[in-house]
């Protein structure tokens, strides 16, 4: 009898779990360097329309700026973990939307582009959330330009279990003349990120597709 009770209690305990592993964490990396800085209002619009409505109570959204040296907490523009109560979560979403609106209006343009620094910072935040589904959405031209003396070496499991979506990748001037260069750049990123544990690397052209991809997990 006691053995049965212990077994039942153990089963019940094992069936109860924290909701974190079912939650989703999204890190949005927004490039503010060079020509991509002008894209900010459009990027914020995509986050507002495509990302925020898809988040459910318990989910986390972190917006990180890709600047000259991105591996810094100062680059975190907004971070929110939605409350489990839908009404509070809605209020948080509204607050985040206004924060992002302010971010889009702020004059900002950096000389260099430290994409990997922002990725490493985002990966740390994603690990901290302990969420079941982790996604990194990059809004950039994917052309890295590190300042002198800055080194970015990612650990082999830096992006373990993270899904990387490159959204709204802007074509540079030379890309138009030689599309193969653009494709080679993206292929290089895919190879690099998957070698560091990324679950997937995908290019998203249409903002509407982003919501569907987030649903797929």
């Amino acid at each position: 009898m006691i053995r049965t009770s212990v077994l039942a209690a153990a089963l019940l305990a094992s069936s109860c779990s924290s909701g974190a592993q079912y939650a989703q964490a999204v890190v949005a990396l927004v490039d503010v360097s060079g020509t991509y800085a002008d894209q900010r209002p459009e990027v914020v619009g995509v986050i507002r329309k495509g990302l925020l409505p898809k988040l459910t109570p318990g989910d986390t959204l972190i917006v990180i700026r890709i600047g000259s040296e991105s591996y810094s907490r100062a680059n975190v523009e907004a971070s929110v973990t939605l409350d489990v109560r839908p009404s509070r979560a809605n209020a948080q979403k509204l607050a985040l939307a206004s924060t992002l609106e302010a971010f889009s209006r702020k004059p900002m343009r950096t000389a260099h582009t430290d994409i990997r620094g922002a990725m490493m910072l985002g990966a740390e935040y994603l690990r901290e959330t302990n969420a079941g589904r982790r996604t990194m959405v990059i809004f950039s031209d994917m052309e890295e330009d590190l300042p002198r003396g800055v080194k970015r070496e990612m650990a082999p499991d830096e992006l373990k279990g993270v899904r990387v979506l490159a959204m709204n990748v802007k074509r540079l001037g030379p890309d138009n003349a030689n599309p193969m260069a653009y494709r080679a750049r993206l292929a290089n990123w895919e190879k690099q990120l998957t070698s560091h544990g990324a679950r997937e690397f995908k290019i998203v052209l249409e903002p509407e597709k982003l919501a569907d991809l987030l649903d797929e997990g």
Binding site: S15, C16, S17, S18, G19, A20, Y22, A23, G45, R48, K49, L52, P53, P57, G58, D83, V84, R85, P86, S87, N90, K93, L94, A97
Partner: protein
């Protein structure tokens, strides 16, 4: 294949050599191979036969158990019906018999009154004996010239006429009085008729109940006597009940699903926990628990009302306690219904808020759909639905009980059918295996037909020699 070639450069020769070797080997191994194939056939046939026997035994056991269950079910059902009828009769008789002294007294009073009125009707003032005839005789005397006599006679005639007139008047008065008495008897007659109708109704009710009991007793006797028609009818009835309760349960499950969806979203506001149970959010589990609680409360309410009998222990408790449990169950249902109605309103608010948020995030200043949907009908509809669904779910107890009680018969019938099918398949498999092994033996012989023909020729040659030398008849070689 090429690995087995004796001469890889010459495949034809190699294949021929392999064929010759196989012929020699298979011819040499013919007898043991035949024996092995026969044994394998017997073994597989035996296995299938055992399987068929097991299936048949299981089918028979299931059918027996099903029959026993049907008989028990029939007995129980009929006993319950008879008990219920007796209970009704007891109630009716207690009521009628309690009223009987009063009824009897009423009847007595009415009859006494009628008797008295009747007696009174019969009494009339007696006429003076012989007086009228005497006066009539005197009045009829022939007229006389004597003035005095004439005067006397005229006086007598006048008196007779006056007496007659008076008698007629008295007669009319008496008749009118009797008519009045008789007319006053009419309500008493009506009362008697009414009482007689009441008695007749009570008696006919009792007679009908007796007839019903007779019918139940007949079917009970049939069930007890293991009458095949009766048990088949009970089995068919159980199947019908199962199908009907299954349909009702399916509809009720649909209602439960609607109910669950109605409260699942607002429950996340009431149960703000990020934890999960078996992968489901606690809010969803809570909504599910509320739906199940409604069903449980319904089961208890139905149990206390005497409609179902899930728990025999509850039937033994006193009536007052049963009433308490009934009140608690119905009260709980009412509370849950109110909670659901409020949750349904909350749900509408959450949905409206989410729609407004999406519109705001999308940069739409005024949401056209939200503006047009200002009607309160959806909110009222959801609230009413939230209030009514728990009561409907509470009634699931009745089909649930029927489904459980008849489910055993259905399961056992299905098992019997499946086992019969299994037995047939096994028997067919056994035959198939035996013939398959037999066919394999023939195929084996066909493959080594050349060595076999050589053997036959050699054997027939030697026999002919033996027959020729010994002279035995009828031992010729086969063609």
């Amino acid at each position: 294949m090429e690995r087995f070639y004796f001469w890889p450069t010459n495949p034809a020769a190699s294949i021929f050599a392999l064929w010759v070797v196989s012929q020699i080997f298979l011819y040499a191994a013919r007898v043991p191979m035949h024996r092995a194939l026969r044994e394998v056939g017997r073994l597989l046939g035996g296995v299938f036969r055992v399987g068929a026997r097991w299936c048949r035994g299981l089918a028979a056991a299931a059918a027996r158990r099903d029959h026993e269950m049907i008989v028990e079910m029939g007995k129980g059902d009929t006993e319950a019906k008879i008990g219920r009828e007796f209970h009704r009769i007891e109630g009716a008789f207690a009521k009628e018999l309690a009223r009987y002294p009063d009824l009897h007294r009423k009847l007595d009073d009415v009859v006494t009154k009628i008797d008295a009125d009747f007696q009174e009707c019969a009494t009339a003032a007696p006429a003076a004996p012989g007086w009228t005839e005497a006066v009539a005789a005197v009045a009829k005397m022939p007229p006389n010239m004597d003035g005095t006599v004439k005067k006397v006679l005229e006086e007598i005639q006048r008196s007779a006429a006056a007496g007659e007139k008076k008698a007629l008047h008295e007669f009319r008065e008496t008749t009118a009085k009797r008519h009045k008495i008789l007319s006053s008897m009419a309500p008493a007659w009506k009362e008697v008729q009414k009482l007689a109708t009441e008695v007749s109704r009570a008696v006919s009710g009792a007679l009908e109940a007796t007839k019903r009991i007779d019918g139940y007793m007949t079917s009970y006797e049939q069930v007890r006597a293991d009458d095949k028609n009766a048990t088949r009818a009970i089995g068919w009835n159980a199947t019908q009940l199962f199908v009907v309760s299954l349909l009702v349960m399916a509809v009720a499950m649909g209602g439960a699903f609607v109910n669950f969806n109605l409260i699942a979203l607002p429950m996340s506001e009431l149960v703000p926990s990020g934890s999960r149970i078996a992968g489901m959010p606690v809010a969803t589990v809570a909504a599910l628990v509320i739906v199940l609680m409604e069903i449980a409360a319904g089961v208890f309410a139905m149990e206390m009302l005497g409609i179902t009998s899930f728990f025999p222990k509850l039937e033994l408790i006193p009536r007052s306690r049963r009433r308490i449990i009934l009140v608690v169950a119905v009260g709980g249902l009412l509370m849950l219904a109110c909670i659901e109605a409020s949750l349904a309103i909350l749900r509408e608010q959450i949905v409206e808020s989410s729609t407004a948020l999406k519109a705001s995030l999308a940069g739409v200043k005024e949401h056209p759909v939200a503006r047009t949907a200002t009607s309160r009908i959806p909110v009222i509809g959801q609230a009413v639905l939230g209030f009514i669904l728990p009561w409907i779910l509470a009634m699931v107890a009745v089909p649930l009980e029927t489904m459980i009680s008849t489910g055993g018969h259905i399961v056992l019938s299905a098992v019997t059918g499946v086992m019969h099918l299994g037995s047939m398949v096994c028997r067919l498999g056994g035959h198939g295996m035996r013939y398959l092994c037999e066919a394999a033996r023939h195929v084996y012989d066909i493959y080594i037909v050349i060595p076999l023909q050589i053997e036959r020729m050699v054997t027939s040659g030697s026999r002919q020699g033996t027959v020729g030398s010994v002279g035995v008849r009828g031992q010729g070689a086969r063609p």
